[in-house]
């Protein structure tokens, strides 16, 4: 048994504790110690994540590098970890994004100085960096857990550090009631997700009771899925539907799927840009990932039954999110609505049940994470310079800060899936895959691309072009630290757009395995392939 997966989770967890325990204070040195510690820890986690991805063999077992430690024997719970292709790329995504987010948030969590010169909340910096690492650890456990209970626990526990990140730290662009807005957003985030989680808890207990009734008192995912596949575990269809809905509800809130999305714009709008990236690019991915791993793996029949309904909801999300993004006045809320539209694509890809669409959806999770991170973080730099989130407060930025404007454009173009940039590949796969089975839905979904061009380019036009507005004049261009944040993201966006093969190689075997779990096959091509392969006849 190797300890690689445990180490990948434990390093950021230990780092969080360490960072939180560092002494607080107002001196620059104290704060820098905390920041550097967190950076070092997240870099170590990145190294471990790369190791995981390298050691994962795409052609091998479904779950690899498995580890298992008994935790609560009374309920058949063990702390089991295992990595599959999808998990590997998402762990990699998380580990890549966290150091970048930390670097981008370098000055976002300084102690608050009162008007009388005294400082409040002297451990604010330590707190922020520790919370981000805690989220990283919990997200990684969620991606690796092969025990339903362990997954549930970390899926839920993640809410607490996220809640404090959203509620405790905001950008300096808020109005006079910024603090009230922020706690509103934090509470909304927590209540939505907690409700989802509690409904899932009922389903988790239900699953356990049913399995225990048939002699399988365990939460071990491979055991359960195998038992379902070979008929040792029979779940009554009504119960299966109820359990599926219980799990799916939690994931749909987290992902978020229309109409359960309304917490996302508040949360992303009020939080710092770094936290917003953490929400949309990392934490929300747990939702879509869990749909693939748990909903499809445990409840194949119900997934097929509810597939079309979910497709329609996803489709509404695509169009609705994009339409609302066009109408936003606030840059960060615009990015949030764009994300809702993109999550629609991801969920559509999952429930279209074709190999192309599903592997597109998996790639989409990664690509959306990278491109949105680039877009959002540059937007964050922009907002912190002007002290405002309103689009109308900007104009002509490209004349004073060309590099900033350029990277912002690349983020926007990636979001609208420009060919050559990473999201294009995945969006194309999702659309083609969906179209081959559900042509009408596929066609309507392309509206999302058209609208994406509208909101992304309009945003660029309104903020970056035109005459230089008051308040924008004299705006500094990207500094070295900010360039270091943006450069890897832009590089990855281009690299994965041109050469996505490493990713698809990792992901595809797992996607095939998931497909066969739900016993779905790709529809036969309209023009029989036999005609071309027939040439082999002599």
């Amino acid at each position: 048994m190797s300890y690689l997966l445990t180490a990948t989770c434990a390093v950021p967890a230990a780092g969080a504790v360490l960072t939180a325990a560092l002494p607080g204070g107002t001196t620059e040195a104290r704060r820098r110690t905390a920041k550097l510690t967190a950076m070092a820890v997240s870099t170590a986690a990145l190294v471990l994540a790369v190791l995981v991805a390298v050691r994962y063999e795409p052609g091998g077992d479904r779950y690899q590098l498995t580890e298992s430690y008994s935790w609560i024997r009374s309920f058949g719970i063990s702390f089991s970890l295992g990595v599959d292709g999808i998990g590997a790329v998402l762990v990699l995504l998380t580990a890549v994004l966290v150091p970048i987010v930390l670097l981008a948030s370098w000055h976002d969590a300084e102690p608050i100085q009162n008007p009388d010169g005294t400082f409040e909340n002297l451990r604010r910096t330590q707190g922020f960096f520790a919370l981000v690492l805690a989220v990283e650890a919990m997200v990684i456990v969620s991606f690796l857990a092969t025990d339903v209970f362990v997954f549930y626990v970390f899926f839920e526990a993640m809410l607490i550090p996220m809640y404090f990140l959203i509620g405790g730290f905001g950008d300096r662009a808020g109005g006079p009631d910024a603090s009230a807005q922020r706690s509103y957003a934090a509470v909304k985030f927590l209540l939505y997700n907690l409700l989802g989680g509690l409904v899932m808890l009922a389903a988790v207990i239900g699953l356990y009771v049913i399995a225990a009734g048939q002699g399988l008192a365990t939460f071990d995912l491979p055991t359960l899925t195998n038992a379902i596949a070979d008929g040792r575990l029979v779940i009554d269809p009504t119960a299966e539907k109820a359990l599926f809905l219980g799990f799916f509800f939690a994931f749909a809130v987290k992902a978020p799927l229309w109409p359960l999305h309304t917490w996302l714009p508040n949360a992303m709008g009020e939080a710092t840009a770094g936290t917003a990236v953490l929400i949309t690019a990392v934490v929300d991915k747990v939702g879509t990932f869990a749909m693939l791993r748990f909903c499809l793996g445990l409840f194949p029949e119900a997934s097929t039954t509810f597939g079309p309904v979910i497709l329609v909801l996803a489709l509404i999300g695509i169009v609705y999110g994009a339409l609302l993004a066009v109408g936003q006045k606030d840059i960060k809320r615009l990015v949030a609505y764009a994300s809702i539209s993109h999550f629609g694509f991801i969920i559509m890809g999952i429930f279209a049940f074709t190999t192309q669409a599903q592997s597109g959806a998996t790639l989409y999770m990664v690509n959306h994470g990278i491109s949105t991170a680039a877009w959002m973080l540059v937007a964050g730099f922009l907002i912190s310079r002007r002290g405002s989130r309103l689009i109308s407060d900007f104009g002509g930025v490209q004349k004073v800060a060309p590099v900033l404007a350029g990277t912002f454009l690349i983020g926007g173009l990636a979001t609208l899936s420009l060919p050559g940039l990473a999201p294009f590949v995945s969006e194309f796969l999702v659309l083609v895959g969906t179209f081959s089975k559900y042509p009408v839905i596929g066609i309507i979904a392309t509206l999302g691309i058209v609208l994406a061009a509208l909101y992304a380019l309009l945003l660029y036009q309104r903020t970056m072009t035109g005459p230089v507005k008051e308040g924008v004049a004299g705006m500094a261009d990207l500094k070295v630290r900010e360039l270091a944040v943006v450069a890897p993201l832009v590089a990855l966006t281009i690299l994965l757009g041109v050469y996505p093969k490493p990713l698809t190689d990792l992901v595809n075997p797992t996607v095939d395995a998931t497909q066969s779990q739900v016993q779905q096959t790709d529809p036969a091509p309209a023009h029989p392939v036999a005609a071309t392969t027939g040439g082999e006849h002599k």
Binding site: I160, G167, S179, V187, L194, L198, A202, I205
Partner: protein, 543 residues
């Protein structure tokens, strides 16, 4: 009548001398002995020596009692050697020993908070605690001022608490209805007194005591009346005997043969006893005393009541329904379903509107009573284990939470109004973080003891076929989470009010109490296996 007189006259030697197993009753006897010692100390020691002596007696007594519980459990009295003591009046078995150990430990933690003397400002050079200087003095009177000036202290709270603890130890172990009733009274009467002894806001405290006493007396009367009816039905008050009559195994005396067929006696008797017990656990619709009493009582006493009374009462509840009335499961389960659903929903919904942290915790305790009831209703072995575990988890979170409440103070004493807790997280991050941990445990967030407990009872309930209860439980948990989180928001994300409360620096006593609360909350959340095993192995009733 003449027969009775003849027996008393000594003509009939047939009344056997009761055989008492002192060793196996030692947990209770030690606590009662310590309480009596406390009374003597109160009577004969000089005033200035009493505080130290009482604290020592109480802690040593509780420690010795816990030691006795451990020894008895190690001797196998919880499992293979389980049996009846004192001629069938008291049972010694897994649930009894588990709950006795739990009650003794919670009482020890509560006694630590009783003894805290750093929080109140010193009066005339005397360190004072949370209790009135002289219980008998009329609030605001000259007599009270004199008592204060003289530096009096109500050190009798320690023996009173020990008497209550003794009754609580007997309550879940009582194996007949009369012993159960005596235990109920023994632990209730000192609690009524303790509730009236708050140093600050004495009128509120006395009002709480009167309400608690009156309603408690009603509940006791219901319990006693139910006992009488059940005796009329079964001809015995022993729990095992009633079960035998209910199931038709045992024949009753011919004199009662006529009424034994009368199910009305049985069902009404059962209902009345249940009213008495549901009152003590604070279940809806018998909950209305809870917020007033929790708010008015001195906070250390509230913590003790909330943890230990609930534990003892649920213990008796389990024994009654699992030993005496398993055969009537189909009669009492539907009613208890209704009570559990009402308790969860009413507790959670009413808590949302509370503005006082002690009332908030009171309503939260009502909601928790509902969650525990779902485990009771499971009517399977898992259910018993789950309830035992839940009680352990809940007790220490509650004790810790009320201990934190004693620390947030302004010039008028404890600042319990929620608005004054705003911004606490900025001023005292550590204290706010600890309280947040307790709130998260109440809310049942994973990796805290509250989650493990909730999972255990819900899982038992689902296995017992009570899926709708689990769904109601989950939904009311979501409502409950809202108000716990509201307090967290207030503490961390609201700006502190100028002139708001300050956090008092406690002595090592309260620190220890809070630290134990934190430790248990985390251990039962992160590594609960040992304690789940303990609760499971302790989940067989003897009869």
């Amino acid at each position: 009548m003449s027969g009775w007189l003849a027996a008393a006259g000594g003509n009939s030697p047939s009344i056997p001398a009761p055989h008492i197993e002192y060793g196996q009753l030692s947990p209770m006897l030690i606590v009662f002995g310590a309480a009596l010692l406390g009374v003597l100390a109160e009577a004969f020691l000089p005033r200035r020596a009493r505080y130290g002596a009482q604290l020592t007696i109480a802690l040593l007594g509780l420690a010795a009692s816990f030691g006795a519980v451990v020894v008895l459990a190690a001797q196998g009295h919880a499992t293979t050697e389980a049996g009846l003591l004192a001629m069938g009046a008291v049972a010694i078995d897994g649930p009894a020993l588990f709950l006795q150990g739990l009650i003794v430990l919670s009482a020890a933690v509560a006694v630590l908070t009783y003894a805290e003397r750093r929080l109140e400002p010193r009066l005339n050079g005397n360190a004072v605690d949370a209790f009135a200087p002289q219980g008998a003095a009329v609030p605001g009177s000259e007599q009270e001022r004199e008592a204060t000036r003289a530096g009096f202290a109500s050190t009798e709270v320690f023996p009173l608490t020990l008497f209550a603890v003794g009754g609580m130890l007997l309550f879940p172990a009582a194996n007949d209805l009369l012993t159960m009733f005596v235990a109920l009274e023994v632990f209730s009467l000192p609690l009524y007194l303790l509730c009236a002894l708050a140093r600050r806001r004495r009128l509120l405290s006395q009002e709480a005591a009167v309400k608690y006493f009156l309603l408690g007396a009603f509940a006791s009367a219901f319990f006693l009346f139910g006992t009488a009816l059940l005796y009329g039905y079964a001809g015995t008050v022993s729990l095992g005997g009633i079960a035998d009559v209910v199931s038709g195994v045992a024949q009753v005396t011919p004199a009662l043969a006529g009424s034994t067929q009368n199910d009305a006696l049985l069902l009404i008797g059962l209902a009345m006893i249940s009213v008495g017990l549901l009152f003590k656990v604070g279940a809806v619709p018998f909950h209305s005393w809870t917020p007033d009493v929790y708010q008015g009582a001195p906070t250390p006493v509230t913590g003790f009541m909330a943890a230990a009374t609930k534990t003892a009462a649920f213990g008796a509840f389990l024994r009654l329904f699992y030993v005496a009335f398993p055969g009537l499961r189909w009669d009492w389960r539907p009613v208890m379903w209704g009570v559990a659903i009402l308790t969860m929903v009413v507790g959670a919904v009413l808590a949302v509107t509370q503005q006082d942290v002690k009332r908030l915790l009171a309503y939260s305790s009502i909601a928790h009573a509902g969650f525990i009831l779902t485990g009771v209703i499971a009517s399977n072995k898992q259910g018993i284990g789950a309830v035992l575990f839940y009680l352990a988890a809940y007790s220490f979170v509650t004790l810790g939470a009320f201990a934190v409440v004693t620390l947030v103070r302004d010039s008028k004493g404890e600042a319990t109004h929620l608005s004054s807790w705003a911004g606490l997280g900025r001023r005292s991050p550590l204290l706010a973080a600890v309280f947040a941990l307790f709130l998260l445990a109440f809310a049942g967030i994973p990796l805290t003891s509250g989650f493990t407990g909730k999972f255990a009872v819900f899982q038992a309930a689902a296995a017992g076929g009570a899926t709708p209860l689990v769904i109601v439980g989950v939904l009311s948990s979501a409502v409950a989470a809202f108000f716990y989180i509201r307090v967290i928001v207030l503490m961390f994300f609201s700006d502190p009010r100028p002139g708001g409360p300050a956090v008092a620096v406690p002595s090592v006593l309260t620190r220890t109490a809070i630290a134990i609360g934190v430790l248990v909350t985390l251990v039962l959340g992160l590594a609960p296996q040992y304690f789940l095993d303990l609760a499971t192995s302790a989940s067989v009733f003897t009869r």
